[in-house]
Symmetry: C2
Subunit: 424 residues, 2 copies
Amino acid sequence: MKPYAQMSAAELSALKNELESAFSKHKASGKKLNMTRGVPSDEQLALCNEMLTCLTADDYKSANGTDCRNYGGLDGIPEVKKIFADLLDLTPDEVIVGGNSSLALMFDNVSVNVSHGVRDGKPWQSQGQVKFLCPSPGYDRHFTICNYFHIDMIPVAMGEDGPDMDTVEKLVSSDPMIKGIWCVPKYSNPTGIVYSEETVKRFAKLKPAADDFRIYWDNAYAFHGLGSSNEEIPNIIRLCEEAGNPNMAYVFSSFSKVSFAGASITCMASSKSNCEYIKKRLTAQTIGPDKLNQLRHARFFKDAQGVKTHMVKHAAVLQPKFKLVSDTLKRELDGLGIAKWTEPSGGYFVSFDSLEGCAKRIVALCAEAGVALTPAGATYPNGSDPKDSNIRIAPTCPPLTELGEALDIFCVAVKLASAEKYLG
Amino acid sequence: MKPYAQMSAAELSALKNELESAFSKHKASGKKLNMTRGVPSDEQLALCNEMLTCLTADDYKSANGTDCRNYGGLDGIPEVKKIFADLLDLTPDEVIVGGNSSLALMFDNVSVNVSHGVRDGKPWQSQGQVKFLCPSPGYDRHFTICNYFHIDMIPVAMGEDGPDMDTVEKLVSSDPMIKGIWCVPKYSNPTGIVYSEETVKRFAKLKPAADDFRIYWDNAYAFHGLGSSNEEIPNIIRLCEEAGNPNMAYVFSSFSKVSFAGASITCMASSKSNCEYIKKRLTAQTIGPDKLNQLRHARFFKDAQGVKTHMVKHAAVLQPKFKLVSDTLKRELDGLGIAKWTEPSGGYFVSFDSLEGCAKRIVALCAEAGVALTPAGATYPNGSDPKDSNIRIAPTCPPLTELGEALDIFCVAVKLASAEKYLG
């Protein structure tokens, strides 16, 4: 089939009729299919079922003798601190182990910087209207945190190598009210790109106008390659140190997509002095995270290598799903000039760009036919995609057959919305 | 022995020499004994060891079919919401299940009211200097939260029936910057008293000058009676409703001293509209608490009655320890006119009052002899006990023999500090 842009009105009309008829059939089938969020499938969760039973009634002490059943310990048992430190190429005293939600670590960290300020800093809220840079498309829940704390969000374009660093450097060095930037440096949500070495180095060498500017480095997919190998990016904390910005980066990591999505362990990592500062707050805030769940993770994974080995099993489940997305989009949409999409080598998403002004229509059509997608615009600050073209496809949760059905419906919706657009 | 106040200087001097000699022997024995905090003993933790293994590799779904391994669910699985609701005599939609730390629920709640305000309210921080009433002696970690958020603390005297309600009523109805009060209504920390029905009713009928005044009702020891029966207090949420203050109370409850201190489940309860408001924040803050740990609790306890039955086992372990405290203090200190103490029927503490100006000296003497106590003053806002007389005794963690040794040393320290005081 030729590109839509080269079709006559008559051809487009005929095509539209055909697509509407196909769409009606899909609608009539009454399917309920979900591709909204980056959720692991049953098959992936089952990879860890042994963790449900890996503790015994007399196995509750950590390596340093701590009784994990009782109170005590704000930043993690030694064996789990070591696993995270080894995975992130850091030392255990640069790691604070959290509960089951890295989102909570990020939210709390922003909350405290707003109300109390970074270490040796003034409360952000006492300095004026706080702003964050938001590489977009990006992760909607980062933007929700900014919204919650009334932080202005400045979108920055995402490229193949990461955010547009010329813009980042210019803004960060000129505006002291820019206090943070959200980054998903590996297998980015939703584009799947991996920040280049050059991008990471430029981040570390930023010269912020604000002393209390911080990089929120959400390394959510640090171990989540789809092939047998995992891409590596430079160590942002070490590079920041070397560049004379030792306290500039907060790194977040999570086992939500390693063990059990709702019952995992997480960590944040930063300079020792940042960690000391954060632990003071934790003393007021909590009795500390669940150490028994940490112990379960230590018993099941044993060490950092155990995590890496386990991630290969996840990749084996996920790779066919991403291949199906790629194959289907290629088969149905290639050469039509109505869409482009990413081919990620890791992570949980495919980022899809329709013709301008079509994303909302595509998502609405899919909803009519029983396919739930992330709302169009969600990948932009304030849910507002200026081109109304980006859609995040989350193929991990549905079984392959359902995913195939959902993708077929999606492609019809894309074509239909595009034909509608050309017909005006 | 006669009261110290009736002794001559010579008698006191002789006594002091005798006590110093006894104290030196204790010191020389090189014991290390800890009565600092309300921590469950090994024996208590072992009561729940079955919870370490109560899930099997195919048991991960809650009553409503939720896969507890995966994402989803902000406020608890149905069976656990029901257990808390039944225990607190509320409905499940008045309950939000949290993670393993009720302190975190309280901290977050204060944090959000400071920064965003209560439901339909203005941020506390936008209104001026926020104040909380702090019935004292009270729980040091409540005071730490106030300190963290720069909230002024106004101590209110604690009596046998709860806080001095005349003062509470007068202050709350006259000062709109009083936004909260900390309460531990059952087996209070540290005095062990239970609020009377009259006190609870007066709380519910408060007429605060501030629309956004809130009662922080930390029912930490709700099921923690020492005898075979558990005292009951009226339902603050229902009474507030009836009094036309439906949103005034936040109730906090915890299984930290029911299951595993560091790996339990907790909840906050309030009006449905408060819960709806709080859940909006949770959507921005977290992926939700660990549902597998909730499921473990549901499997182990089964229902509210299961919790109550289990608490009788805790009481059987704790009762002899509290009896030893009572017997020892009576035997060593009765009739000397140098101390009084509480005889709680539940909870985790005995509150001890020395002669004025002696508490710090007693704690210091104990430290010299290897007995660690909660710092004197910790039970008052800003760590400052105006009479320097209150000491919190935490007898739950040490085994009986060690507890006996620690109490012997404590009593010598009390007598020695008192003799020193009378000698001037």
